[in-house]
Amino acid sequence: MRNAEHATTQRVSRRTLLRRVGLGAGTVLVLGAGAVGYRAYDHGVFSVGDGAAYDPWSSGKEHAGTPMAMVAAAVLAANAHNAQAWLFRVSETRIDLFADRARGTGALDPFRREMYVSLGCALENCVLAGPANGFASRVTLLPDPTQPLHAARIDLTRRESPTGDLYEQIPHRHTNRNAYQKGRSVPDAALEAMSGLVGLGDARLVWITAEPERRKMGDLLIEATLAIVADRDQERANNDWFRQDWDELQRKRDGLTIDAAGLSGLVAAVAKLLPAQSDAALDSGWVDGTRDRQVPTAAAFGILAVADSTDNAQRLEGGRLLQRVHLWATKEGISLHHMNQLTERADRERDLGVTPRFGAALRELISGGRLEALSAFRVGYADDAGALSPRRAVESVIL
């Protein structure tokens, strides 16, 4: 009898103990889930493309009918590392575009090639936005030879004229770093149409579509990426423009982001939930993405070539062309990803005075002649539209 009572007491105690253990474990898990949930909120896992840093993509109409609307279009332009190295001085009859040297990308762009190409992209958006806001534009590149930072002057006159197709694409254009559909090529007619957008005398677009050349270009891009991450100065300059922290991203409103890096939603979410990654991890992620996702799925590579890639005026005109190509591709549902590794390495070789391995390879890719590579990109069709990149407000780029 006593033994039975003892057994019952022991059974109840065990059940109670198990319940308490279960409740304790549940409490720990629920509190842990709360902490993870809060981190997901705090790091923008559920807010891709949301917040003040992304407002400029949808706030263009605020300044409609004024020169500021043209600047609002300009700040949405393609630009290297999303450094947004532009400043504008605006009056009723004129917009002046200046390079912001404080936003240079250091060892990645020692001769400011990318900076002026990016300014050309912004200039093109600005001009395209003119007719929609009742302005005709007259552009003067580098109006003051003594002031190389004064990239362009746009004289405005009030005139009604039709809005172009490309203007409509400005809020929809963005670099797509995702994998593209494998085996789906871009029609020759589309490539020819993009080549036809060239407006500068000596500039041309070189398309690399055949498999052997595409593989060669892809291998060079991977090697250039590896060379950049192995070069301490270039690696640091590259990672300086990568925004891992959501609050920093929303505050600075520039740079490359986890969301726009071309990662899957799952990997991007995990990357945001984990603590900020080291430079080595960022390098490895970039190399892997280039090698495994971006290069193998490119339908074609494009190289924009000009007569003199060191001439700022040609860089600006090249940038305008590049922007038109990107806007036209957007209209046709073609994704485009600017890939500057080769030109960045070529400039670095020149800067260091070493054997021009990538410089020589670029010359070979565009079949020699007297043209020089200015910029490179890949095109293709992506399943996913890709994410927007943050932008500074118009008010913060006005002098």
Partner: protein, 219 residues
Amino acid sequence: MTLPRRAVALGMVGASLGVVAGVVQITVGPNMREWVGDKQDTTRLGLATVLLSALALAAATMLWRRPHASAPARLLAAAGLLIPAAICFTTVGRLWFVPGALLVAAGVLVVVGMRGEHREVSHALGRHGFAVLTVLLAAYYVFLGAVALGFAGATGVVGGLLIGAALFAAKRHGARLGAALLVVGALPFAILTWWSVVTPLIAALVLAIGGRAVARTRP
């Protein structure tokens, strides 16, 4: 002043200052980011601070009106003081230092005052612990749903409400309906945002912990 009265006074002052901190963040937060934890989303975080401070104020008021409430009720009030105090250290930056410290002190005093009532507290926790955890998970869903964009966000808010309702449905109409509401509440948001890692994790916990809470409920 007795221990409970001290706790009530600290809780009331701390929660009221917390409401003020939230209102300040909503109204002038963008102009004083270094004071509000460098947060960009000052409106939503300010609103969250106000709501959580109001919760703490409700807890302090309950202690003031019912100083001799049962031990489980006082424990709940302590949680109502301590949880907002902890969360708001991450929402409103330096503005929370004073209200947060006062609320933590109040919560600790309430817990200290419950010495000797261990058995009663432990019994109540044993009876309702899983239900409390389920309500907490439902609140996570509502919060993340409010943060997420578009249709997915709406499924989060509605899902959270359904998870909360599941406990009451189980009590009134039986465990089967409660379990069905848990599933319907938890799965859509988790499926639509599976890539987020967080929502599938919460959904799994809802099904495991909420399922147990519902199964223990008797109509």
